[in-house]
């Protein structure tokens, strides 16, 4: 027989003003199983809790009901108090008579009636509560960072610094990401490579960091503290362990007409290549789409040149499986494709370039060795027009609805660098708004206007027309002067919107993390948990979560690392005990629950059962992994045989509440 205690809180006058607290305690004392029913001024206070603890011991209570504020407020307080008095914390139920009763109703009689009914429902439920114990699940002390840009590198370095092993998985042949392609950084104008490459080397030399370059994550299983990840190491046809990165093969390769991705296709590379001089790992990779040996079987120059015998034309993709306790996503961004923006003539004229292409055109390691020349005729441009918000803040399917955040600043940087290096060049920037929130950002932009005399014009470019003399006619509006302009430009630079990398969406599916409609990963809370995903053990770093500049990316990368370290420091983690449970005797093995589970927590196993006729039979039954289950209850409804139930919110408990309310 259950022995239940009811404790009704006055909450000062918060509850007592509209609910007759004593009448509630009196009414509930007649409920079946209730052996003690008391009221008190402040139940959550030290003395209030002691009252509960003493009653548990004195009356040997098997369950308690607290009629007080929302369980979201003090459920934990009373669970702890119960545990301290030797009662299982999950034998505590809260009747929410403050937020959902006294605060919303004015009439004392009806509010008291409602409070009694809420109390009765809680008593009815607590009758069916079962003692639950939290499971402990071990934590694998190793982290995985997906993406080797500045975000991934920073996260990996910070986690390694704390003494944990970290693996970086990067899909390109080298780590470095977008920052490696950037020429200078705002607002300090220091060279990106000069600050990035030492970090890349640091990551490569750190004993705790293992870089899987030219690799992809193909499968993720498991749960917080215990993920099993399959990584595909793509065949690069060069033995990583042997290659010294001398680069002789890249010099001798006869196939020299391959568009160079690192320079945005503005020049060519060889079929066997090292993306750039400071690549990490500095290992050659063969592009099988262009390699003559792989395509025709006739060449093998690189193999002959290689003194260490690292070339292996027969290399295969390799799958490796690793276990991790935490996963940090740092998949980054790309500029959008501009083929839908015909008005800017991007596909028609080589002199219309994106900002990232301009970075390469101006970079000392770029196609022109650092001299800014028009791509079409390699002449020095005298008039350059920048167009802001190309595809950003665009509500139709052509572009992105959000502000890409970094374009205002890098355009000011480009304009300034061009005016600094080539003072005879006129630079126009067409903008909708100039957005420069950030330390020293607005000062930077004002410098472009005031010191470098860059012409900022409010208005958009409507049309760019290549003319027969090689120049571009830029038709734009000057909204402040209320007139239409025509500018003869030598080059047009488009600040293309940025979007999450295409690999992010399939990855989110594998990780069971949430994404917004723009494919940016969704953080657990937009303000208070910005670097965690809603899925435990998955953290977010850098532009995969939203547009970010370098300082913000690095800050978030370190924050994600701190969260991951916090998890890895623990030997085990406590799991929520309110999870689904399958009654194996009732389960008919239909797989309905498995299909609806958003976490993949349900697996099917063949088990031996004794049948009524004393034979044994093998039956396929569901079993729930309590460490993976988050307790949503989707499976309990899907189960046609009623075998699946949710601990803490069982079918019988909820129906007891329904009955109590409807009585």
């Amino acid at each position: 027989m259950q022995r239940i205690g009811v404790f009704v809180c006055h909450c000062g006058t918060n509850i007592a003003a509209t609910v007759d607290v004593k009448a509630v305690a009196e009414a509930l004392s007649h409920e079946p199983g209730v052996v003690v029913s008391q009221d008190y001024q402040y139940m959550c206070s030290e003395s209030g809790q002691n009252l509960v603890k003493d009653a548990i011991k004195e009356h040997k209570l098997t369950g308690i009901v607290i009629c007080s504020c929302s369980p979201r407020m003090h459920e934990n307080t009373f669970r702890k108090a119960a545990a301290a008095a030797g009662l299982n914390p999950y034998l505590v139920e809260i009747a929410n008579v403050r937020e959902q009763c006294s605060w919303i109703h004015k009439d004392i009689a009806t509010a008291t009636d409602k409070a009694v009914i809420l109390g009765k429902a809680a008593v009815a439920k607590v009758h069916l509560n079962a003692p639950l114990t939290s499971m402990e699940s071990p934590v694998v002390k190793r982290a995985l960072v997906i993406g080797g840009g500045i975000a991934g590198i920073q996260t990996a370095l910070d986690i390694a610094e704390a003494g944990f092993d970290v693996d970086i998985v990067e899909k390109q042949p080298t780590i470095g990401g977008k920052m490696a392609q950037i020429d200078k950084t705002f607002p300090t104008l220091d060279c990106a490579a000069c600050i990035l490459t030492p970090k890349m080397v640091e990551a490569a030399q750190n004993e705790k960091i293992h870089i899987h370059s030219f690799s992809e994550v193909t499968d993720v299983k498991g749960f917080v503290g215990n993920f099993t990840v399959t990584i595909k190491k793509k065949a690069r046809y060069v033995d990583e362990t042997k290659c010294t990165g001398c680069g002789l093969c890249t010099e001798k390769c006869p196939m020299k007409k391959v568009p160079n991705e690192f320079n945005m296709g503005l020049d060519n590379r060889t079929a066997i290549y090292i993306p750039f001089a400071q690549a990490v790992p500095k290992v050659a990779t063969i592009d099988p789409n262009y390699c003559l040996m792989m395509k025709t079987g006739k060449c093998g120059v690189c193999s002959k040149m290689c003194s260490v015998g690292a070339i292996d034309y027969k290399q295969q993709d390799q799958l490796i499986e690793e276990k991790y306790g935490a996963i940090v996503v740092a998949t980054g961004f790309n500029p959008i494709k501009l083929d839908k923006f015909d008005e800017f003539a991007y596909s028609h004229s080589p002199d219309v370039v994106t900002s990232l292409e301009l970075e390469r055109l101006m970079n000392a390691a770029g196609p022109n060795g650092g001299t800014l020349l028009r791509p079409s005729d390699k002449k020095h441009p005298h008039t350059i027009v920048f167009v802001q918000c190309v595809g950003s803040r665009c509500d139709d399917e052509k572009g992105k609805p959000y502000c890409s955040k970094i374009c205002c600043m890098y355009t000011a940087k480009h304009a300034m660098l061009i005016r600094e290096k080539y003072p005879d060049t006129e630079v126009y920037v067409f903008y909708i708004d100039v957005r420069t929130p950030g330390k020293n950002f607005d000062e930077f932009y004002r410098r472009a206007v005031e010191q470098y005399n860059v012409h900022y014009i409010k208005g958009m470019v409507g049309k760019v027309t290549p003319k027969s003399d090689g120049q571009l006619d830029v038709q734009a509006s000057d909204l402040l002067a209320n007139e239409q302009l025509h500018i003869n430009a030598d080059m047009v630079v488009l600040a293309a919107a940025i979007e999450p990398d295409k690999t992010a969406r399939p990855l989110a599916t594998m990780l069971t993390t949430q994404m917004d409609t723009n494919d940016f990963f969704t953080e657990a809370h937009p303000k208070l948990r910005p670097v965690e995903s809603a899925t435990a053990g998955i953290f977010l770093s850098g532009a995969c979560q939203g547009p970010k500049d370098i300082p913000e990316t690095v800050a978030q990368a370190s924050a994600a690392a701190a969260k991951a370290i916090g998890l890895l420091c623990k030997n085990s983690i406590t799991c929520n005990p309110c999870v689904a449970q399958s009654d194996e005797l009732m389960c008919n093995g239909c797989s309905s629950c498995e299909k609806v589970c958003p976490y993949g927590a349900i697996t099917y196993t063949d088990k031996e059962f004794r049948m009524p006729d004393r034979t044994t039979a093998i039956r396929r039954v569901a079993s729930v992994n309590p460490a993976v289950c988050q307790g949503c209850g989707a499976c309990t409804v899907a189960c046609p045989s009623g075998a699946m139930d949710l601990k803490g919110f069982s079918n019988s408990q909820i129906m007891a509440e329904v009955d109590a309310i409807c009585k």
Binding site: K114, P598, A634, V637, I654, V658, I661
Partner: protein
Amino acid sequence: MQVNDNKDFQPTIVAFCCNWCSYAGADLSGTNRLNYPTNVKIIRVPCSCRVNPMFILRAFQRGADGVIICGCHPGDCHYTSGNYYARRRMTLLFSMLDYLGIERDRTRVEWVSAAEGQKFAKTMNEFTEAVRKLGPNRRLEDLRCRKQ
């Protein structure tokens, strides 16, 4: 449809609220002292997908006059996709209830976030009023369960 003229009729309304959004939204309408009728009694569930159609049938059997299910907005489910399951299940259940003669206005699914205390109170006011107009639920009520 019969319209109930009895102004004194006090319907019993069961609200199933998702712990992560609508239950918090209901708390918020309390914190903001936003009034809604005492007829509404809330049952906390971890997710709107935990609401078994059986619970709703049970409520009607036991004499409830209206049942409302509140979950997170589409796309915002704490468990990724639970509210979508709830939406599909309830669409089917409500059409079956319709077939049984339970008026559509007695059942409802509403998305209320943790920040929408105002919407919660407004929804409950509207829903209670709609159920009050319909009068007591007699179709599914099991007379053996009726209080004496």
